[in-house]
Amino acid sequence: MSAASGSLPRYILVRLLLVIPMMWVLLTLVFLLLRVAPGDPVTAAVGDKLGPEELDARRAALGLDRPMIVQYLEYLGDAARFDFGTTISDRRPVLEIIQAQGGATLTLTVGAFLFACLIGIPLGRVAGRRRDTPLDAGIRLFGVVSYAAPVFWVGLMLVGLVVKYVPGWPTFGIADPETIFYVPDKTGILLLDAIIANDRISIVDILQHHVLPCFTLGLLLSGVIIRLVRVNLIRTLGDDYVEAARARGIPERQVIRKHAFRNALVPVITVIGLQFALTLSGAILTERTFNWPGLGDTLVDYITARDYIAIQGLVTFFALAIVVVSLLVDILNALVDPRVRY
């Protein structure tokens, strides 16, 4: 944060350069975890189906018979070209899986963030304003419990309640099979495709399917947001410029809204970005609960199939996504907070 020189483009450039070592470390970690430690991926996945010669042929085809260091370099090179390998069990390119299922995970998480903000920001604001009152205590407890409750349990209970009291409301999947059949695939994101096709019925159907899973995952994230907004608001309410604004006769409501609350939200952007890891964890579980055709659900399927290459490919993709999100968050932060650029 040197005051000397600096501008937004320059900041972004520096931040972009930092991405490379970060990616390298994460990819190395993935490789170490998945490839150096365990035994033979091919045997694990299809060992019970094929004979020894066929297994050897498979290994050679996948290049698994070469030295580890060669495999490592090749892995890094492939990842740089967004080639995440081909699954052993059903011989699908991982990239194709990501294209097919990534959209569902994306709309799930974005929707969850919307719900989380809708729940978390107002509650956090009230708790911060009414600090140390029973209302504050209640909201904090809600935050703790919503974070403590396993996301799949909350999902389960909601499904049970919806089945009982709102019969006919969709409780699993991203859309009716009919919708999936009729909406032409253009972007890989079903909701977007339906909007492009201007298919009112499909849009409504897809949105209805989103409500439960997004709300469930959003509830988990709202706990974090409540806590953050509350703590930040308490801090900014004590900041000097808030007292100075009061001294200028700015009405209290405006002091809270324009000075304390707005400034309290700035760090929230960063931390929401950091919560991407939590979101991903939550998404895996939510997808499993609601039979959601996303990457998390697919990953668990491949784990059950013991397909190392598929697991490695998907985990690599997640690692890249983490780096990209942290980059985006930093840039967003620089756009919002004028101090960061300098």
């Binding site: 410029y241 100075a244 001294a247 200028r248 700015i250 400034n263 004028p338 300098y342």
Partner: protein
């Protein structure tokens, strides 16, 4: 340039802008109420600069904030506080808010943290002007803000910059411009130069001193720097443990201090003629449980028996000075009986200090 929307005439022509009578401001804590300001009385005439001096923790800042009603939750104030004849303490909250900024301004100690880092300077001005003059036009906002900034020597090209792009001295000048853009008749300046370096300090003090010529603003200048008082203030009030112990024309008070505390405070300042360092023994008292009698008696070199038991009367003395000190009483011809005048023994001092 007078704004027509507000009443510029004082209640009594030539009367004081601010009349403070027996003002108390107390805080509640776990250990009981803190008597930060405990019965303060003074007047301020239009265009007058009153210096307020004293050690840290004697209630200076609380008094300054108390005048504007900027108090934390749980604090209470009573007494009389008249601004142009209007009693501020009985006003409703909304009225108080309306007067803050437009009639009563405040300049703070730390300019670096007093501007919202996320808002442009222009936004600060627009917000302040709009809060008080709802119908003000965009052009008017800009014109009046730039005028206020020009007086403070901030170029109009920087109007849309963010606070962090300015140095500390510039930010303090912006804060002053912001406090004065609504032409308040009275401004509290709470140690406005403490956080700045010496050259900038002189500059800011000159600006504050010149304000009454430009704006006819009365000011309470809180500082612990007696040099600033001598340079910039017409009168000075010396505060100790929540009370004003001496108040009068700055020249008179400095050349002929009446209260023992004033004298000791003056002795402990460094000047070119200083040969050794003087300081006042002990620390300011705990304001949850101030000493009996004169609050200064445990540290006072002139303390008499009566000082420990009876609060000294407030007396108007020649030269326009008012002080509350038993030693001054005696010096100005009051007779006390033998017992009361006996010096307070040294032991009593340390015991009282510990207590």
């Amino acid at each position: 340039m007078t704004s027509l929307t507000k009443d510029q005439t004082p209640a009594r022509p030539g009367g004081p802008v601010l009349e403070v009578r027996d003002l108390r401001v107390w805080y509640g804590t776990d250990r009981g109420p803190v008597r930060a300001v405990d019965g303060v009385t003074f007047d301020l005439r239009p265009g007058e600069i009153l210096g307020l001096v004293g050690e840290s923790g004697c209630g200076k800042s609380t008094l300054g904030r108390g005048l504007l009603g900027l108090l934390p939750e749980g604090a209470a104030r009573d007494g009389e506080l008249r601004f142009r004849g209007k009693d501020m303490l009985t006003l409703r909250r909304r009225e108080q808010y309306r007067m803050r900024g437009s009639e009563l301004g405040m300049i703070f100690q730390e300019p670096l943290t007093r501007l919202n880092p996320m808002m442009r300077i222009s936004d600060h001005f627009a917000e302040t002007l709009r809060a008080h003059e709802r119908r003000i036009s965009k052009a008017d906002v800009e014109q009046r803000s730039l005028e206020a900034l020009r007086v403070m020597g901030i170029p109009p090209t920087r109007f849309r910059a963010y606070p962090h792009e300015f140095s500390g001295g510039m930010r303090q000048r912006i804060m002053i411009a912001l406090a004065l853009v609504l032409r308040p008749a009275f401004v509290v300046a709470d140690e406005p130069t403490t956080a700045l370096d010496v050259l900038v300090e002189a500059q800011i003090i000159r600006i504050l001193h010149n304000l009454r010529a430009t704006y006819d603003t009365s000011m309470l200048l809180i500082t612990h720097n007696l040099g600033i008082v001598a340079e910039a203030c017409d009168r000075v009030a010396v505060m100790y443990a929540g009370k004003v112990v001496e108040i009068g024309p700055a020249r008179e008070v400095f050349s002929n201090p009446q209260h023992s505390y004033t004298r000791e405070l003056l002795r402990s300042t460094i000047s070119l003629s200083t040969t050794g360092l003087n300081f006042i023994d002990g620390a300011p008292p705990d304001l949850t449980d101030p000493p009996s009698g004169c609050h200064f008696h445990p540290r006072c070199p002139d303390a008499m028996q009566i000082c420990a038991t009876t609060e000294p009367p407030v007396r108007d003395l020649p030269g326009g000075v008012r002080a509350a000190c038993w030693a001054a009483e005696v010096a100005h011809g009051r007779t006390l009986d033998e017992d009361a005048r006996r010096p307070l023994p040294r032991e009593a001092i340390s015991v009282a200090d510990e207590a």
